[in-house]
């Protein structure tokens, strides 16, 4: 530093100050980079558990048609059921749906039931919530390979359909989910055509296990679980159980279904839970029960074979997957 002798000594930074300044700069870089890294991680990490905000629904237990769980199966917690949802209209990140759906308006609500029926009509939410409700604890198996046990509250779809009297030529039932880009701003990047549509054969729709759920854990449905009313078909992959239903139409042909339209090779119309038919990209032989560490065997028709296998007698389930 001999060349610097011309600089007046007053302008030379004292060594102590220089080191201090470096110390502060380094500390600032340390702090800034750590906060940025941790923040980025947090932005993608699972959201904290949600609490129930639903109101109580009067219902009765109905053990006769309720599925019996095996001794080693237990009901999933509310936090698991309401914090891990596939509802692509709100988000494709399952842990984020609860937050994104928080302000979804589900009251007033109306379900239009029509098509090939004697007396088409629109049911408002109040009337639907007044239908005699039952508790049904069902296994819920997602096509992605995870599953839960969920204590639903609702009424059999057959009850609703009997109120509109299907015509004799009706063979299928089509369902449609509410769709509104103003309330569902992220729906554009879902990668599937919306509104979400689903369908069942009429005999599947009339089956006593097929439920229109209005609640879970004894309270009205959380928005992220398909409030205010959704379909639950326990022997089929979860995506068949369409959420936030606004339209039910009886038809005389197989209706289009969203995932089948998106990828017909991977998702069939029936989509019955079947451990012997793999999804083209992953096996369906086993499943991860949410809350458990290992995986468990997947059962034919999700364990409801005794009740529903007869619906598919004589059908080749490899082709009609």
């Amino acid at each position: 530093m001999s060349g610097s002798s011309k600089i007046p000594s007053s302008e030379i930074t004292p060594e102590e100050t220089f080191l201090n300044r470096r110390f502060f700069m380094k500390s600032a870089v340390w702090a800034g980079s750590s906060v940025a890294t941790a923040g980025l991680y947090r932005a993608f990490a699972p959201r904290p558990e949600v609490a129930s905000v639903g109101s109580v629904i009067a219902s009765v237990a109905e053990p006769a048609v309720q599925s019996v769980l095996a001794a080693n199966e237990k009901i999933n917690s509310f936090g698991e059921i309401a914090g891990y949802n596939n509802y692509y209209e709100f988000s494709t990140d399952k842990s984020e749906v609860a937050d994104k759906a928080r302000n979804f308006v589900t009251n007033p609500w109306a379900v239009e039931v029509g098509g090939l029926v004697q007396s088409p009509r629109t049911f408002d939410l109040e009337e639907l919530l007044k239908m005699e409700s039952v508790e049904r604890t069902y296994r819920f198996r997602c096509v992605e390979g995870w599953s839960m046990v969920i204590p639903w509250v609702g009424f059999p779809l057959a009850k609703l359909l009997s109120k509109v009297q299907p015509m004799s030529q009706a063979t299928h039932v089509a369902f449609e989910t509410y769709y509104d880009l103003k309330q569902m701003p992220d729906a554009g990047s879902a990668g599937i055509d919306l509104p979400y549509v689903e369908g069942l054969r009429l005999d599947e729709a009339m089956h006593p296990l097929t439920l229109m759920a209005t609640g879970l854990y004894g309270k009205t449905l959380p928005n992220q679980n398909g409030a205010p009313i959704r379909l639950v078909v326990p022997w089929k992959y979860g995506f068949k159980s369409i959420k936030s239903v606004v339209k039910i139409t009886l038809t005389d042909k197989e209706p289009p279904t969203t995932w089948n339209l998106a990828n017909p090779r991977e998702y069939g119309f029936y989509s019955n839970v079947n451990p012997t038919v793999d999804h083209p990209r992953w096996s369906q032989a086993r499943e991860r029960r949410i809350g458990e560490s290992g995986t468990r065997e997947t059962f034919m028709f999700n364990g409801y074979a005794e009740q529903v296998a007869s619906l598919y007698a004589g059908m080749d389930l490899q082709t009609h997957f």
Binding site: Y88, K94, R281, I290
Partner: protein, 200 residues
């Protein structure tokens, strides 16, 4: 010492920030805060982190040439080792969480499912790069041959992006993001070498 010359400081920063996501994951796991499906989250997070660090290694050359940040070169192998670190975590999560340690079923999975095969191949290609990441290995191989071998990073990153794209159900936002970034970073290299060829 100026900031750009303080390579010890750079190293400490990268070591800490690279480790941080995995530390936070362990802490979250300890407190049971990894969501309803921890295996799925850890699998996805470690996979995405692998891609992030792969892309960061590819970012070094353009930043040196465009911004003159030559000091980054000294840290590139460390960044690459973090890509390897997270890919090992990704593979272990798959073996333990998805396969329940049934190693034999892995072979069947690789044969049956293209996205597993692409991922596994990309991982295997990373192994020689991790092994040759020491100073001694560079000396032994010679800088030119070493650099040639480490161009495998291009293939590995492309493989990683394809692996990600093949597993998503319908929302391709994130795989598309990595595809665009990778295309830009590799495209830059093609553009530079074309420009060089023209000027010769």
């Amino acid at each position: 010492m100026t900031f750009t010359a303080d390579s010890r400081f750079h190293r400490q920063l990268i070591v800490f920030n690279g480790l941080l996501p995995s530390l936070l994951m362990v802490v979250d796991g300890w407190r049971g805060k990894l969501g309803a499906n921890p295996v799925e989250f850890v699998t996805r997070a470690t996979g995405v982190l692998t891609l992030v660090f792969l892309v960061l290694t590819l970012l070094v050359t353009p930043l040196r040439k465009l911004m003159g940040w030559n000091w980054l070169l000294k840290q590139r192998r460390l960044i690459g080792l973090y890509a390897f670190y997270y890919s090992v975590a990704h593979l272990l999560t798959y073996l333990i969480g998805d396969r329940d340690w049934q190693i034999l079923t892995v072979a069947a999975d690789v044969v049956k499912r293209p996205f597993i095969a692409v991922g596994m191949l990309s991982f295997l290609l990373m192994v020689p790069l991790a092994v040759t990441s020491t100073n001694a290995m560079i000396k032994r191989m010679g800088g030119k041959r070493w650099a040639q071998l480490h161009r495998l990073t291009y293939l590995i990153t492309i493989g990683g992006v394809i692996h990600y794209y093949l597993i998503v159900k319908s929302d391709i936002t994130y795989p598309l993001f990595f595809a665009v970034v990778t295309a830009l970073l590799l495209g830059y290299r093609v553009w530079v070498s074309l420009a060089k060829a023209k000027s010769n």
